[in-house]
């Protein structure tokens, strides 16, 4: 039974180490902010941070996160970058159906942690793995620029 550091807390997870992080979060721990979209690392809805790196939790086993820090949408706003991204998301009314937006916020936060002033091309490259069927991409771009500006 692995112990994982989730959102700064060591947490005993009652699941097989081969279980993807996504299902341990959602079904074992009841943390449903991280979403299931494709189960194959193709859509980004399940994005979490593992040691700060945007990671597809649907295709990353618990064993791969041993000794590392997992951050999920539930706590991303506890740091300045995550909070700026969330606030920009609200200010720009990005969400439509909203189902993919946890993953979008996580990917955008990881981007801004590594690149304080991303261009549209940087944004497209960093966010291309996050599908939004509602087509919120125009506002995703502007919200990321706005978040970058508030952090500058």
């Amino acid at each position: 039974m692995p112990t994982l550091n989730i959102n700064g807390k060591d947490t005993l997870v009652d699941a097989d180490p081969n279980t993807p992080i996504l299902w341990a979060l959602r079904d074992t721990l009841g943390m449903t902010g991280t979403k299931f979209g494709c189960g194959a690392g193709l859509c980004g809805a399940c994005t979490v941070h593992v040691d700060g790196v945007a990671t597809r939790s649907c295709s990353t086993p618990l064993s791969a996160a041993a000794g590392k820090k997992i951050t999920t949408i539930e706590s991303v706003a506890s740091d300045a970058v995550g909070l700026a991204v969330q606030n920009a998301w609200v200010a720009h009314d990005v969400a439509q159906c909203g189902y993919c937006q946890s993953g979008q916020v996580m990917s955008a936060t990881a981007l801004l942690k590594g690149n304080k002033k991303p261009s549209d091309a940087d944004i497209d490259a960093a966010m291309a793995g996050n599908i939004c069927r509602c087509g919120t991409y125009a506002r995703v771009r502007s919200a990321i620029h706005a978040a970058a500006a508030t952090l500058a």
Partner: protein
């Protein structure tokens, strides 16, 4: 889905269709009232923490602290009790009669009600209604989110609801102060009287609910609107940006189990053998159930503790299938047969004399193909079923995102063998749908309830969440149908169309469903022809073939216009090019002195884009299209290039005529999103194809959808209007692909006629 008013007064036929469904679902049960609505228990009212305004006459006062009776003339959906709650602290909770799945009704409907209520917008929140009779679409008499009609068909309803609630609050204040109601005014959640007297709606709530519900109420002049028409942030923006918004997929009930179902690889196939020994040995697997599935097929459900165990169990099943009795579709052969059919005149939808075709000085002969498309909403389909009690006391609760909670509740009752009033439908926020959550066969609800029923028979009484994987979604059917169009057009040197012979081949979406009675006329499904010919007054003969194919089909965002707009708008452009005319000027000429909304939208997009004035970068060209669907007109001016055979859409200027834009922020979002989805239909790989009856795609690796690098720069402009609003969920989609296609044609001299575009 689309109920086009141009095809007749469907509203009057709708309850009949609903009744037919219910009779079928129920075996003509006695629980159906004359108007086709189930007489279920209506809302609980008068809760301790506040109150529901007004009174519902059918409640018979049993659960209600003697509210005053509403006028007998008011229907359930006209009574504020079911829609407005005002707490003591002034919080106003508005119940929406539609599914929020991205289109913004959770914000726009409360805006409409709050406007007439004179509520303090900062205190307004919203919740979903359920399958109760109050939450039917007032025009159709059934629960429905579709046809881009949520605002269009509930605008006056929600205004009147707000005005009735306001009148009751004013009456309460008047009684309290001993003055006449007409001396009072309202503002921002307060009733104000002479001499600076004021009282909040929260303080009036108890007294207001005892006031009579007025039948006739005066509505505001649109020029006095403070909320309607103002760009308003979504009420769900924060929850949806922080992971706190719960969707159907996030249901958690005590002891809940998760199930996944193996569907037949070919629609309707049966099982030859099942070896579930390895599956049952997977840790966490509770039950393995052989079960009937959609289209008279068979499948196997694996019930387990959580999705991962269920999935591992499913992967461990050893199944053999018998596909001998079902048609095994092959897309190559199907396309060939459709093309052959398109060369023959079908059932005639629009008549015209084709005599001038043979001798026309100029001709275009064109064939277009469109593939099957999956909706692929980001939240995979799911439905949670909880059955409690037994025998006559058995009750069920289902939790799901649905565009038709009434249908789905009836379907659940039928499968579970319960009277409909014992099934509670809990509508959950849905992660997209695009039509996939409005299924006349209620496929995913029937499936979930079948699993629950079989599980109970096997001794598993826990609530069960039945989940689809993405592979289940992509392979699971109910696609936008495949279509072939063929057009033979004769015209003169000035572009005057002399004869236009047009044939469409495609499956009917509604034949064989409860919607057939109102949507199929003379054998023709009206959804296949919507968007044809208009707004161009050309002599067109339009005929239709509806082949029967073993592929389940469904409405897909903007339905018929997903293909008809492409065909119409690229062909009109081709005639303009063939006769050396500007495509905008040519369209205006064809419209003549009619279609003012089309012209207003087109000209606004043209002006704002700089079309014909601004010089584009080398290698780019303009493309224009305008199309009306669901009573809204959208025009696009596209800027595109083709580099080494790869088309690229750089920028789009949109103009929308949706009459009054209730929430311009949402109108913009809907156009941005629909444009992107329209662009998605052009991308190579955006197609569902079949080999030996099996879907060849499985996930987002081989079923291509638009990603952020595909998103063009987009500017959205709205034609000002104070007329009652029309819909916005779908109309942004149809004209995007033809605008893009027309730009490509300008660059290459050749209009792409196959969607998705083939790389050249």
């Amino acid at each position: 889905m689309h109920f086009d008013p141009a095809f007749g007064d469907l509203a009057t036929q709708m309850p009949k269709g609903l009744l037919a469904l219910m009779k079928r679902a129920q075996g003509a049960s006695k629980t159906i009232a004359d108007d086709g609505l189930p007489r279920r228990s209506f809302l609980k009212m008068g809760v301790a923490s506040g109150f529901a305004l007004g009174a519902y006459p059918l409640l018979a006062g049993a659960q209600s602290p003697a509210p005053a009776a509403a006028p007998a003339g008011l229907k359930p959906f006209e009574q504020p009790a079911a829609f407005v709650r005002i707490d003591k602290d002034g919080a106003v909770t508005v119940t929406i009669n539609r599914l929020e799945f991205g289109q913004g009704v959770l914000t726009a409907l409360p805006m409409i009600l709050a406007e007439e209520l004179d509520a303090d917008w900062a205190k307004v929140r919203a919740v979903h209604g359920d399958a109760d009779g109050a939450y039917v679409d007032p025009a159709f008499g059934m629960h429905l989110t579709g046809g881009s009609g949520s605002i269009k068909r509930s605008y006056t309803q929600y205004r009147e609801l707000g005005a009735r609630a306001r009148a009751m609050l004013v009456a309460a204040a008047a009684a309290q102060w001993g003055v006449e109601a007409r001396t009072l005014r309202t503002e921002n959640g307060m009733v104000m009287g002479a001499g600076g007297k004021s009282i909040s709606y929260g303080d009036l709530s108890d007294a207001a609910m005892k006031m009579p519900v007025p039948e006739k109420v005066a509505l505001k002049d649109p020029k006095d609107f403070r909320i309607i028409g103002k760009a308003t942030p979504r009420l769900d923006a924060r929850a949806k940006s922080s992971g706190t918004q719960s969707f159907g997929m996030d249901m958690q009930l005590p002891g809940m189990l998760t199930a996944v179902v193996v569907h037949a690889p070919v629609f309707g196939a049966k099982l030859k053998s099942v070896d579930d020994s390895a599956a049952k040995a997977v840790k966490g697997v509770t039950a393995v159930l052989r079960m009937p599935t959609d289209r008279a097929g068979e499948g196997v459900a694996v019930v387990a503790q959580g999705y991962w165990a269920a999935k591992l169990g499913r992967d461990a099943l050893k199944l053999e299938w018998d596909t001998s009795a079902v048609e095994k579709v092959d897309s190559v052969a199907q396309l060939a047969s459709y093309k052959a059919l398109a060369r023959k005149t079908g059932m005639v939808k629009i008549k015209a004399d084709m005599g001038a075709l043979a001798k026309a000085p100029k001709k275009i002969s064109a064939e277009f193909t469109f593939p099957y498309l999956a909706h692929a909403p980001m939240e995979p389909l799911n439905c949670t079923v909880q059955v409690t009690g037994s025998g006559a006391d058995a009750k069920a609760a289902i939790y799901l995102g649905t565009q038709m909670p009434g249908f789905d509740g009836m379907a659940a009752a039928t499968v579970l063998g319960l009277p409909p009033q014992n099934v509670k439908v809990n509508v959950q926020m849905a992660g997209g749908g695009f039509g996939r959550r409005a299924v006349p066969t209620a496929d995913y609800v029937v499936e979930a309830c079948t699993v629950a029923k079989l599980a109970m028979a096997a001794g598993v009484t826990a609530p069960i969440r039945v989940m689809w994987s993405r592979e289940d979604d992509i392979k699971g059917g109910y696609y936008r149908p495949m279509h072939v169009h063929r057009a033979e057009i004769g015209f003169d040197a000035k572009g005057k169309v002399l004869a236009w012979d047009h044939v469409i081949v495609g499956q009917s979406i509604t034949q064989g469903t409860p919607f057939e009675g109102m949507m199929v006329q003379d054998g023709i499904d009206m959804t296949i022809a919507e968007g044809m010919r208009e707004p161009y007054d050309v002599p067109m003969r339009l005929s239709i073939h509806h082949p029967k194919v073993n592929v389940p089909v469904l409405w897909w965002r903007s339905v018929g216009s997903t293909h008809t707009a492409y065909v119409m708008e690229t062909l009109v452009d081709e005639i303009a090019r063939a006769t050396q005319q500007d495509p905008v000027a040519y369209r205006l000429k064809l419209m003549g002195d009619k279609h003012p909304r089309h012209k207003a939208a087109l000209m606004l997009a043209v002006e704002q884009s700089g079309y014909g004035k601004r010089k584009l970068p080398k290698g780019q060209a303009w493309g224009v299209a305008v199309h009306e669907s669901f009573d809204t007109v959208v025009a696009y001016v596209a800027e595109a290039s083709v580099t080494k055979g790869v088309p690229k859409l750089h920028a789009v200027t949109a103009a929308v005529h949706c009459n009054l834009a209730v929430n311009p922020k949402t109108v913009e979002a809907q156009v941005q999103g629909a444009a992107l989805m329209g662009l998605g239909t052009c991308l190579p790989g955006a197609a569902i194809t079949f080999k030996d009856g099996v879907v060849e795609q499985s996930n987002f690796n081989d079923y291509v959808v638009a990603r952020i690098p595909d998103m063009p720069r987009i500017a959205v402009h709205i034609v000002p209007s104070a007329e009652p609003p029309t819909g916005m969920g779908e109309p942004g989609l149809p004209p995007l692909a033809p605008a893009f296609g027309n730009a490509i044609a300008k660059l290459t001299g050749k209009t792409p006629r196959d969607l998705p575009f083939k790389l050249v």
